[in-house]
Amino acid sequence: MWLREFLKTDAKPSDIARCLSLCGPSIERVHGKGNTTVYDIEITGNRPDAMSVSGIARESVAILPRFGFKAQFINDPYILKPIFPNIPDTLPLFLKTDPTLNPRWTSVVFDGVKVGPSDKKIQKYLELSGLRTISNVVDITNYLMHAYGQPAHVFDYDKISGHTMTLRASKKGEILTTLDGKKHTLPGGDIVIEDKTGTLIDLCGIMGGENSSVTNNSKRVILFLQTYNPVSIRRTSMALAQRTEAATLFEKGLDTELVLPVFSIGMRMMGSAAGGRVAGPVTDIYPERKKTRTVVVSKNKILAYIGPIKDTDITTPLESLGFTVRMREERVEVRVPSWRDDVAIDVDIIEEIARIYGYHTIQSALPASAPPNTPIDPMLMWEENIKIRLRDWGYTELLTYSMIAQNEGSAYKILNPLSSDWVYMRTSLKQSVLPVVHENLKNTKDLKVFELSHVYVHKHNDLPKETLHLIVVWSGNRFLEAKGLAEALFDLFGIKYNLPDFGTLEVSSDITVLYLDFAKMVELAQPRKAYTPIPKYPPAIEDLSFEVTGDFRIGPLMDTVKTLHPLIYRVTFLDAYQNFRTIRIEYLDTTKNLSDDVIRKVRQKILDAVREKFSVTLKNV
């Protein structure tokens, strides 16, 4: 297997998968058998150094021994310190580059190249890795990319006008056709190479140009390995929607120190696989050498994060990954290898120690410090309280999407909606709930549903005020039930019943809808109940039946009677039958028993007031 060209170990594929997933890159799937095991590996975006066969091998060498397996890293490219003989320039190449866009440029020209199929081993490796085999020359570039995480490219020397390559930023509107035949109009600022005539021949870091590509007839080939400014590569790749494997590697920022070793391996392969003879000196333009980075970590911090671990458990994991460690009294100085640009601060080092040491070895412990003293949010408390009440009163809770199709009342708008049904943030629950209710009415005749949820109220130049509203919907005309629920809710909040100030109650052809500004009710809530002593003397109770006409409204009559006299303790509604209305009056004096005489006087007052104000008299018995 390809992996075994870099990793010598007694671990089986299933062991490698298990151990790596616990301490490093996640092995999603292992398939194939015997010599043809294929690993599908998920590597997080911060680890371009691991996005290659050798990168995985390096991880394995650090991880496998922790589980008792032997593991040795072979053919490490970083060990290579290639020196190139000075070859006279038979096929000259005129180069100019821009180091801010292209930190390192390596290239060399080959003559006598015979383009044909690759050997069986290379083909097998590439195909099992999901890459297409094209020709020996092109396959070398894919092989290098997959083996080392360093993309490579080849150009046909004879197709480059004036044998001149100038790397620069593109201007807006320039045109380039890539290898896949797609014609691109560049947004500008993209890294490109032009030939002597100014024609673009390469979309650097993403895909080569069609006009400079190697074909079966190519005889003279340029081998070309670089690194690029990751931000430029990403911008171009996203703008043109060209997400090639090379682009996804370059945009993460690759190690400039890796370029030359891989380049030398590529040179060797060109010779052996394609018969190429070097026809000029090796070009290596690398003006700003990478500086070594050292990160200092406080020992206390390491112990705080991981727990009590020995010095060797700090040093061994780091050294096995290629870090150099200097242990001091209170701190650890770590020299970071060139391929680990993702390690920049102390916590990055702590992660490397902890994951190799093994997260499974860290014991679990609950936080021992005192919990914070935070008051509970009243909005959350009321929300939960009322939801539970509604459930226990027989209502079913709906939970609809906050997004709706139409704008009503300066709603916040989604710029990139997923569907035309979900474009605006609702300003009323009705917008989301009523359509759902009507859908349900097709299948269920009797509905009692509610939703207590946010609407998004506009605030000038600011985020919306996310406000809780309550909507309750019944099937059919359930006016009195709805009113009863509203009255019960006001009671719970300790607010005097006043529906218009907080919402609406509407009956339409097939449903009844109660709508309340729940947040406002929470803000004005006064739920504290005070104790009132139980009366020592019982109330005197009598029922009065009045004869009324037509569409008489009993509410105002009851309100009038309630406040008519201090001895009137309670007035409740009993019955409505044809044109008679019966109410119950409770008379109470907390200091003494009431005499018939006193009651009679109060009753007369009631009858007088009722006749005067409402033109209504007692029912004739």
Binding site: S21, E351, P372, T374, E397, Y412
Partner: protein, 356 residues
């Protein structure tokens, strides 16, 4: 057959018969016709007593005859009273009838899950809060160590909100420059720095709120819920994260369910982890529901120093951990295979909602 009976005896027998019969009629459940036949018919005791009249001395016969008539009339009137009474509603009681139930409503599964999760974390001092759903890009990404154009932002398919703020170029160097792009937050992590800005340490927070992502399929809905835990204190350790996870799993999934952490990468945590929970169905052996005995739950990590700094906290003194998971997903894993399409949760079909 009544032999040799005196007039006085016959009269008392008649009166006795009258009393007994009237009582019998009153309490009888038989149809009136049958009773009439029984008490007045030719085979009745009254008939027998009447026939005994002929055995009496001649001068007594008319006197006793009067009593017979009286008794007959009395019994007949009792019978006719029975006929005009409405049919008695049976006072019999059938206990096998279904009971009268109290009203039973249903909370949405998501609300149920939120309440359960809130209760569990309250026990270890993590209090529930709710941070905005519509938020500044700064809180959702920049404060979380993801500057503009950082590739990590691709991980979330974010919904953007049309700008409310006039051209911000003129505000470039003012405090408000960071508040101009609005998004629907794709994760509850936007609450991390907001919580830090409350300036109260230590922090133990659970932020539960709606999140939005531009994705819809069997495991994704464009609107969903997450719960985000944040613990910031002195000397916070990976061990504490594990401890809190284990506590939550034991109480939410059941005893014996434990956590496992594996390496991962988030811009806003370092080290970063993926959290697994042990599979309840196979207890570690591996089954069709899990991956080698473990179920992937979500992400977590130690809060990145840049995030603490963005929240005005000194990373040299304080550290912390954070985790953020989907409520729907976490709940669906609890109920096993019965819920296999998350879109069901937002269908709002009462026939579905009433099952829970």
């Amino acid at each position: 057959m009544i032999e040799n009976v005196s007039s006085a005896n016959l009269i008392s027998l008649l009166i006795e018969y009258e009393q007994i019969t009237r009582e019998e009629i009153r309490t009888s459940t038989e149809p009136s016709e049958m009773i009439k036949l029984k008490v007045l018919g030719s085979k009745s005791k009254l008939s027998e007593l009447t026939r005994a009249l002929s055995k009496l001395p001649k001068e007594d016969r008319s006197r006793v005859g009067l009593v017979v008539n009286q008794v007959k009339t009395s019994i007949e009137s009792e019978l006719s009273k029975k006929n005009t009474e409405p049919v008695q509603s049976r006072n019999t009681f059938d206990p096998t009838m279904p009971g009268i139930r109290p009203p039973v409503g249903h909370l949405h599964i998501v609300s149920q899950a939120i309440m359960e999760i809130t209760r569990i974390f309250e026990r270890i001092g993590f209090i529930r809060v709710r941070h905005p759903e519509v938020d500044w890009d700064w809180y959702a990404f920049e404060s979380l160590n993801m500057p503009l154009h950082h590739p990590a932002r691709d991980e979330w398919e974010t919904f953007f909100i049309k700008s409310q703020v006039p051209n911000s170029k003129s505000q470039k160097n003012t405090k408000h420059a960071k508040f101009d792009k609005m998004v629907l937050t794709p994760h509850t992590s936007n609450g991390q720095v907001r919580e830090m800005e409350k300036r109260k340490l230590p922090i133990r927070m659970i932020n539960i709120a709606k999140c939005y992502r531009r994705q819809i399929d069997v495991s994704h809905t464009p609107m969903f819920h997450q719960f985000e835990g944040l613990y910031v204190d002195k000397n916070v350790s990976i061990a504490h994260l594990k401890g809190v996870m284990d506590f939550f799993f034991t109480h939410f999934y059941g005893p014996g369910r434990i956590s496992r952490i594996r390496p991962f990468h988030f811009q806003f945590t370092e080290p970063s982890f993926e959290i697994d929970v042990s599979c309840g169905a196979c207890a570690g052996g591996g089954c069709r529901l899990c991956k080698d005995g473990w179920l992937e739950l979500g992400g977590a990590g130690m809060v990145h120093p840049n995030v603490l700094k963005a929240g005005g906290i000194d990373p040299e003194i304080y550290s912390g951990f954070a985790f953020g998971w989907g409520i729907e997903r976490t709940y669906m894993m609890k109920s096993g295979t019965s819920l296999d399409d998350v879109r069901l949760l937002y269908s709002n079909d009462v026939r579905f909602l009433e099952q829970f």
